[in-house]
């Protein structure tokens, strides 16, 4: 083949190849830029939103449906203090000087949650769901070497982080609490009691919860936040079966950490009125409205 033919073919192939490489890069880069752009826009928006609220509620399933114009509700079912601790670390600038409610109740100190983290079979999927919350509002997952075991297979990138973000911030609180009432179903309450307190070494042994609750409070105190432990109402049948040392430990914890407890059991006195509850300790829509009314007046 003549040299000029060879050169033409070579140049042509180089041109086609460059075209291919540029198109391939664009094919991947454009969606990455769009994804990242949307993510950062939402994150910035969330930071602004966070700055505007005077009260932040770091809650759990008990506080999931609490809504008030003064309160930004960041509730995650499962009482994960390590998740809230990570959240406060990520957004400490926006939290500084604010009033922060931390939902904390007796069952939060049960070893139940640590057991779930250590043994996935107890509640399949719970552990990975809690771990994924550590990177709410992050594009790339972090290692969290103190919490997540090294051998756990966890990808660096989770495409669901963006839709989760949108769901968390813009869709979740539009869902409504149910009107269902527990009535006098003490059997289901007994089951919850069994679940929370049947482990022989339940008493204050959940080192993960305690450690991260203390860490969270310390971090918030250091940043001039007014921390309040929010104790949501529970049914009296449940309260009567909570071990006494747990009850005293919660008070002890608040004294040692120098934080107030807002005990809605005492303030609202509804623990005997089961029409406000949908199970052992979760208020229904009716019960929630009482809490919201109370919090409106609360300074």
């Amino acid at each position: 083949m003549a040299w000029w033919k060879r050169t033409t073919i070579y140049l042509f192939s180089i041109l086609r190849m460059k075209n291919f490489i540029i198109k391939s890069i664009l094919f991947f880069i454009i969606p990455i830029i769009i994804y990242t752009g949307i993510f950062y826009f939402l994150r910035l928006n969330f930071k602004n939103e966070l700055s505007q609220y005077p009260i932040i509620l770091l809650g759990d399933s008990q506080t999931e449906f609490i809504s008030d114009e003064r309160i930004l509700n960041k509730s995650i079912g499962g009482s994960p203090f390590f998740v809230h601790s990570q959240f406060s670390e990520d957004f400490i600038e926006q939290l500084r000087g604010k009033k922060v409610f931390i939902a904390c109740n007796y069952h939060n100190l049960s070893k139940l949650y640590q057991n779930r983290l250590e043994n996935d079979q107890l509640y399949p999927g719970w552990k990975s769901s809690m771990y994924s919350h550590l990177d709410d509002y992050q594009i790339l997952n972090r290692k969290h070497i103190n919490i997540i075991p090294k051998n756990l297979d966890r990808s660096l990138f989770n495409i669901k982080n963006l839709p989760n973000f949108i769901y968390e911030r813009h869709l979740k609180f539009k869902s409504k609490n149910s009107l269902k009432s527990i009535n006098n179903d003490t059997l289901s309450i007994s089951k919850a009691i069994q679940r929370h307190w049947n482990h022989p070494d339940y008493i204050l042994n959940d080192s993960i919860q305690i450690t991260y609750l203390k860490k969270l409070i310390t971090e918030l105190n250091k940043n001039n936040c007014e921390v309040v432990l929010l104790k949501m109402p529970l049914t009296n049948y449940y309260i009567n079966n909570v071990p006494n040392d747990i009850k005293s430990k919660l008070n002890e914890l608040s004294n040692n950490q120098n934080v107030r407890i807002l005990d809605l059991n005492k303030e609202l006195s509804i623990s005997k009125e089961y029409k406000y509850f949908k199970d052992y300790g979760h208020l229904n829509k009716l019960g929630d409205s009482l809490v919201m009314e109370y919090l409106k007046k609360y300074e």
């Binding site: 070579y10 192939s13 291919f20 969606p31 297979d153 660096l156 495409i159």
Partner: protein, 478 residues
């Protein structure tokens, strides 16, 4: 290095750019880069076993050259036997040593003699069954004078270790792949786009189909005694899709990657689950292995010639050896034998070549007869896969016993709707693309850019969104 890993996602573009930009002018350099890249690719898993590949390469290269020089038939035969013994010797040692040892001990103890021998802790080198067969095909073809031996050692080393298909096929013939290393490769835009498309589809099959099905198949097979008959059927069906998604997905990635480098590999899967009989299934499943056994074992044995008993013997040999190739376990042998039983009736009645073309060609849907044939063939295949997946024969038999129990018609304990919907969409996509080499091949030419890109991005999102937990490719263990 796994195709579905970050390591490979970094490795591939680097090699691609080096290959086309730096070495475009020099074929030898280009082949050398392939050898280096392939050795890195393989060594990523365990560098110690690179010596095996290198040794096999040197032996077959030298034997090939000597076969050409030698006219004496006896000496040629000896050279061929040396290659076969060395290659199969490695394979036998690493893959089958413990199996034979255990079975000898069991057999002797059955007759009352005690033999004391302990198993060795042998690691099976990844892909040994694949590259061994590939190099063997070279020596046999040179011996048969179907192929001229190569004098270019680098080209031969690249042929033996070509990284896209090194560890799990397709098992390429020297007659197809080796000449491609002699020719200058020109970058072809259309081929490269096609390659990327096939890689994408392969990743979808592996990550979305196979890995999701693997989760439930493992759960059900590992706890088979706890589940109802209906759930066990679901477990077997999930494994059926797992192995197809896993292996054909790997082949798609391998073929697509090769295209990026200007190579054409043979099609390894041709929509086997749409087969109307077992003979058709075996023409469409793991084609590179089936044709290898056909050409180098079945035909030398006499193939379909001779007496009826010879025919039956040959069919059993090829299916059992094919089963045994997959692993040193009686389950694979039974799986092979079972397929021979399926195949024999249609073979002996000369109906094994009734269905050559893909089903319902030019039509949207199959006829009722075709549909029933597909379902029946699929059912037979699912049943056979139980032996393939089971840990041992007892496990397989208990699994089957569990299926045909009173709970066969009960509501299954495990029926993940999301996975079932994904499988349905997958089957529809495969059906629509069954005339092509892979299901979405036509996307590139049939659809305009907006729709084309929507499909690509939908697949990418599905891979990230619906992907199951990362699993090793099943065929790595073979």
């Amino acid at each position: 290095m796994l195709f579905n890993s970050i390591d490979f996602a970094i490795f591939l573009p680097i090699i691609f750019i080096l290959y086309w930009f730096i070495n475009n002018k020099n074929l030898k350099l280009q082949n050398s880069l392939i050898v280096v890249a392939s050795y890195i690719f393989y060594g990523w898993w365990d560098w110690r076993f690179l010596s095996l590949i290198l040794f096999s390469t040197i032996i077959d290269y030298s034997i090939g050259i000597n076969l050409k020089k030698q006219d004496n038939q006896l000496k040629r035969k000896i050279l061929l036997y040396i290659s076969v013994i060395i290659n199969l010797g490695f394979l036998g040692f690493f893959k089958y040593y413990n199996f034979f040892l255990d079975n000898f001990i069991t057999a002797f103890s059955f007759f009352g003699s005690e033999i004391k021998a302990s198993s060795l802790n042998i690691i099976l080198p990844v892909g040994i069954s694949f590259y061994t067969f590939q190099t063997l095909s070279y020596t046999i073809d040179v011996y048969r004078r179907k192929l001229n031996p190569t004098k270019d050692f680098i080209a031969f080393a690249a042929f033996v270790s070509f990284f896209p298909q090194l560890v799990a096929g397709p098992i390429e013939r020297a007659t197809n792949l080796l000449p491609q290393f002699y020719k200058k490769r020109e970058f072809n835009y259309s081929n490269a786009v096609d390659g990327m498309q096939q890689i994408l589809w392969g990743l979808f099959k592996k990550i979305v189909i196979a890995d999701n099905c693997a989760h439930y198949a493992n759960l059900i097979f590992n706890n088979s005694l706890d589940y109802s008959g209906s759930t066990l059927i679901i477990g077997a069906i999930f494994f059926t899709f797992q192995i197809y998604g896993d292996f054909s997905g790997y082949s798609d990635i391998a073929i697509g990657t090769s295209r990026l480098f200007g190579f054409n590999l043979m099609q390894n899967f041709n929509f086997p689950y749409f087969s109307r009989d077992i003979a058709e299934f075996w023409r469409r499943w793991h084609i590179s292995l089936s044709t290898w056994f056909r050409d180098y074992l079945y035909i030398p044995l006499g193939g379909s010639r001779g007496s009826i008993w010879n025919k039956i013997r040959n069919v059993f040999i090829i299916f059992i050896v094919s089963g045994f190739w997959h692993g040193a376990n009686w389950t694979f042998i039974v799986w092979g034998a079972l397929n021979a039983f399926y195949f024999l009736p249609i073979f002996l009645t000369n109906n094994n070549r009734n269905n050559i073309e893909i089903v319902a060609q030019g039509k949207k849907l199959p006829s009722l007869k075709e549909f029933i044939s597909i379902v029946l063939t699929f059912g037979l295949t699912v049943f056979a896969w139980i032996f393939f997946r089971a840990n041992n024969i007892e496990h397989a038999l208990n699994y089957i016993k569990g299926i045909f129990s009173n709970s066969l018609f009960s509501i299954p304990e495990i029926a993940p709707i999301n996975i079932i919907i994904i499988l349905l969409i997958f089957v529809i996509a495969e059906w629509l693309g069954r005339n092509r080499q892979y299901a979405i091949e036509e996307v590139k030419t049939k659809f305009k850019r907006p729709l084309r890109y929507t499909i690509y991005y939908a697949i990418i999102i599905a891979i990230f969104w619906l992907g199951g937990k990362e699993q090793q490719f099943i065929y790595f263990q073979f």
